[in-house]
Amino acid sequence: MKPKLAVFKFASCDGCQLSLLDAEDHLLAVAGALDIAFFPEATSRMRAGPYDVALVEGSITTAHDAERIRAVRRDAKCLITIGACATAGGIQSLKNWADHTDFIRAVYATPEYIATLATSTPIADHVHVDFELRGCPINQYQLIEVIQSLLAGRRPRTPSHSVCIDCKRRGTVCVLVARGEPCLGPVTQAGCGAICPAYDRGCYACFGPAAQANLAGLTARLASDGMRPGRIAQSLRTFNGYAPAFREESDRLADGRDRVDEVRR
């Protein structure tokens, strides 16, 4: 029997699940090898669990979703989070630092209709996660690798070194050293193929913190290049800002002369 695949969405932009539909050359093969049992963005046929593999996109931002992810976990033999929203809380986790009522008011005229939690949290804060794919969005080839290794019954292999190393491999001139562009590549997990520096801009860490990233070292360097601590903290607080390594360093910096509120204002 073909393994049953399900794709679930929580608070997200759909970009990560779209990566699967964007794998045009592999799509029909994947659809042939797997039993796509639940993937509402792609098919109207929906079958109940249990599923062999659940791909989970998005973060938890409502009480209802906090319940729903438990049900997904109960139904899934293997649960894989796809992307920065699911693994770190996503860009919407910026509200974890802010006054939530203000946030609702900024968008909706009648805030009393909106039921949402004050926080955006990663899936692993709620249930056990078997494997995670980083990136905002994930890299299509990494997703295919994960699906193929599951089909072959081996553990997926994804890199844990930094973007910096991939720049060297690509032969990209370092934007930090050569041009003084602030770049988070030294502390960001590889996986994208080191795209940004190849387009003459610093990495903004959409793949989240690399293992054993020397954050204090990089932020000291950025500070000595003239960046204010508040601004450095802010640059860590983006798509993976709530990932522990980035969160701790940004909080440390924001507690200094630049206060959290100044960062926010």
Binding site: L28, A42, T43, S44, Q92, I104, Y108, A109, Y113, D200
Partner: protein, 440 residues
């Protein structure tokens, strides 16, 4: 009299999470709600205090299918606030990038999301066994759209190369020129697509729309123009009969209301309170004269030079836009000159700016206020799907009596099919859509 409640918990083959609720008494619709339960992500709020350079990267994350649209509306609005002009080369490159997004998004919708409804399948993938040629044609068309975004933007989802003032780097000529042979193939494939979709069996259903799209004097609108409003009526128009509203007036002419069943906001025209239609059907009819030559011929052949109020036929309009996007992209690719510099510099100043561009699904309005330190003070974003939501509900109300004798499952399916024609993007509209049908 029988009362029925029909509920579609999860709308499928749409972007994001929504449902539909229908309450019927006999064949009378008592209640209809497009429910958007996609959790809100509060983009306008989280942009406050961020450096304006972050805005195109952050707003891109509103939607994985149309990130370029968010990047385009945001950079244009910010450039207006800063008083920075972009070079003609940058302007062309932005159009090229937008072509890539229209292609990727339209090909996805036509082949994988919408065509299955007309051919009786649950998904585009299921269609592959009966329609192998069509499905692989669609996938290849989509792939080349993605490759274009990748060449220009670094990657196809959330491209990284769009900056306030231009691009971080102009692509080298060889990076773009190698796409040309595939794009030639794509023009023919897109013409085939128009003929194929036009041959589908469309329900006899028509609405008197108030159609809204950007209009521009010399080109098919993408990045700029005035807001054109065309009231449905007989006869050829081509935008001539359209009312023109400067983009800066948008917020005075259109209003968003917050309704309880939705985390999206409903748009209406100020004054009349009438909902309106944005997207390919409106765009083609307001602008058919400025389509590329082949696309214009096809528009005329299939009747889009006159008023077409059948939402089901949007798939044909979308296919015509595919022809246009490939032809325009080819034209730009063939005469490409890298922009030097890739990006104009600017000085910070306090101010406000707004812009509208045409996302694949329709008009996308952004407004920002920035301070003298280059930080965002206020942001406002009005996505296409929230503008369409009121119209979708009104159309469902009109559509249900046509199919009310069907059993619940068929009725639900028929309603879902209609909703899909607008290619709703629910992630965008939360600040934005749920189809449940209650038969009272």
């Amino acid at each position: 009299m029988t009362e029925r409640t029909i509920q579609v918990e999860i709308l499928t083959r749409v972007e994001g999470e929504g449902g539909l609720l229908l309450k019927l008494r006999g064949s009378d619709v008592e209640r209809i709600e497009l429910r958007i339960y996609e959790p809100p992500r509060f983009f306008e709020a989280l942009l406050r205090g961020r450096p304006l350079e972050d805005v195109p990267d952050i707003t891109a994350r509103i939607c994985g299918i149309c990130p370029v649209a968010y990047q385009m509306s945001s950079v244009h609005a910010l450039e207006q606030a800063l008083g920075v002009a972009v070079s003609p080369e940058v302007r062309r490159l932005r159009r090229l990038l937008y072509c890539g997004e229209w292609i990727e998004s339209h090909a996805l919708h036509v082949y994988l999301l919408n065509a299955p409804d007309f051919l009786g399948f649950d998904s585009g993938l299921d269609m592959a066994s009966r329609y192998p040629e069509e499905v692989s044609r669609g996938l290849r068309m989509k792939k080349h759209g993605n490759q274009l975004i990748e060449a220009l933007g670094g990657r196809s989802i959330h491209p990284i190369n769009v900056a306030v003032g231009g691009f971080y780097r102009s692509p080298r000529r060889d990076e773009l020129e190698r796409l040309i042979p595939d794009f030639r193939w794509c023009v023919d494939a897109a013409i085939e697509t128009v003929r194929w979709t036009a041959s589908f069996d469309f329900p006899d259903f028509s609405r008197d729309y108030q159609m809204v799209s950007l209009i521009h004097d010399t080109e098919y609108p993408m990045n700029e123009g005035d807001v054109g409003v065309l009231e449905a009526g007989p006869g050829p128009d081509g935008g001539r009969g359209a009312e023109r509203i400067p983009v800066a007036e948008y917020e005075r002419q259109f209003r968003e209301d917050h309704v309880a069943h939705s985390t999206a906001l409903h748009s209406v025209r100020v004054g009349t309170g009438r909902p309106y239609l944005v997207g390919p059907l409106a765009r083609v009819q307001l602008n058919w004269e400025h389509l590329s030559p082949t696309a214009r011929e096809l528009a005329r052949e299939f009747g889009f030079d006159r008023t077409c109020g059948n939402p089901f036929r949007t798939i044909v309009a979308r296919s015509i836009e595919l022809v246009h996007a490939y032809e325009e992209a080819l034209e730009i690719l063939g005469s490409y000159e890298p922009a030097r510099p890739a990006r104009n510099t600017y000085a910070y100043r306090a101010g406000a700016g707004c812009a509208a561009t045409e996302a694949p699904r329709g008009l996308l309005f952004h407004r920002y206020t920035v301070d003298e330190g280059g930080r965002v003070r206020e942001a406002r974003i009005v996505p296409p799907t929230s503008q369409n939501q009121g119209q979708i509900e009104a159309d469902l109300r009109a559509w249900v009596p046509h199919v009310a004798t069907a059993d619940d499952a068929t009725l639900a399916r028929q309603c879902e099919n209609l909703v899909r024609c607008y290619d709703p993007c629910i992630s965008c509209s939360t600040h934005f859509l749920n189809v449940r049908v209650e038969r009272a």
